[in-house]
Assembly symmetry: C2
Homo-oligomer: 213 residues x 2
């Protein structure tokens, strides 16, 4: 997955109908990120339908034991997802189980080693370096680093070489797309600021031009 527009649209809290509409309206997006709130309402059918329109990243924050992680990863990739977000803190075997499945599907795992919300500083941030090591050893293809804290993106960038970095927390949570990319993010993930906007397409284009300028 190569950065073009650098924009990943998060469709975290919208109906499937609206998600499909937004996917059609914003074809410039490099990918669509979907999460359990959508999938719990509409099933894996939502992944199947959206993956016909654009690259789908299943942001399931997978964080179970190896056997369960494997089953969740199989479900996501069989439905058409090209990437799956999984937690590194569950350890190398559990994260490795996701990577094994991704490799079978020519897809990849994006590891969470930092997060964008305030509570991330309590237990995750103190272990970011160790989490990155676990994730690199497991063979993930990308990392999540917080758009709300560009200095942490820069820190993760130093640790992960040329692996892909995805930065959530842009917009509603307070992060700036430009700052995230300047700090080393390949992609900015934007949800509420786009799907909650009066003009989602205009907002998406504004973000794309902001990260390209």
């Amino acid at each position: 997955m190569r950065p073009r527009s650098r924009l990943v649209v998060a469709l975290d809290d919208v109906s499937l109908e609206r998600a499909l509409e937004l996917a059609n309206l914003i074809p410039e997006a490099d990918a669509l990120k979907i999460n359990y709130p959508l999938v719990l309402r509409h099933g894996l059918e939502s992944v199947r339908k959206l993956s016909k329109l654009n690259t789908v990243i299943c942001d399931f924050k997978v964080a179970d034991i190896d056997n369960t992680n494997r089953l969740i990863a199989e479900a996501a990739f069989e439905a058409g997802a090209k990437a799956l977000i999984a937690h590194a803190f569950v350890g190398s075997d559990a994260l490795g189980a996701c990577v094994d499945v991704a490799n079978r599907f020519d897809a990849f795992i994006i590891a969470v080693v930092e997060m964008s919300h305030p509570g991330a500083v309590e237990h995750i941030q103190p272990r970011t370096d160790e989490l990155v090591r676990t994730a690199l050893k497991a063979g993930v293809g990308g990392f999540v680093a917080p758009g709300t804290r560009p200095e942490r993106i820069a820190h993760v960038r130093k640790l992960v070489g040329n692996k892909l970095i995805f930065a959530p927390g842009i917009g509603t949570q307070g992060g700036s797309a430009r700052d995230a990319v300047d700090a080393g993010a390949d992609f900015v993930i934007v949800g509420r600021s786009i799907y909650g906007a009066k003009d989602p397409v205009g907002t998406a284009r504004k973000i794309i031009s902001e990260v390209k300028s």
Copy 2:
């Protein structure tokens, strides 16, 4: 939720038809634990149907930011779940969002502060004490402690007072139900050893008598 048989049957990797059959065959179980592999295949309908037969624990290992955690918790409890398993690792705001929703539904959150698989020793076990503090402050009703490591159940028991402790990893993963209860678990969670057995009902009864003796 009071321990009676002390058995929670995990229906992690079975069809909904088989899950409903097992729920009917083992009414002595104190609860049924279900996970994403089932829900991704059959939707929240699986929670709705199973919760008519017994208490349902949604083992979603919730591990996202507060806003997304809230949406996931609402989906689980609206469908009839009485408890939801969530990670303490994501911090007090994210875990607290789950607790807030649980309180509205007269349900409760079970916090993960340890896990049963080998990789849990890498990042989770070193922080168990801090994770317990986060979870107690957030107001959770129960804890997950590994049936594969009774000494860790005893450790968690010391930290959590009279809160409920649920021990997974019994059977296939190597844990002993008796040892888990002796170490302080209120409930043993058993999945593959029951649903993979030739005689699931007999196996369940054997476990119940083992923890009662």
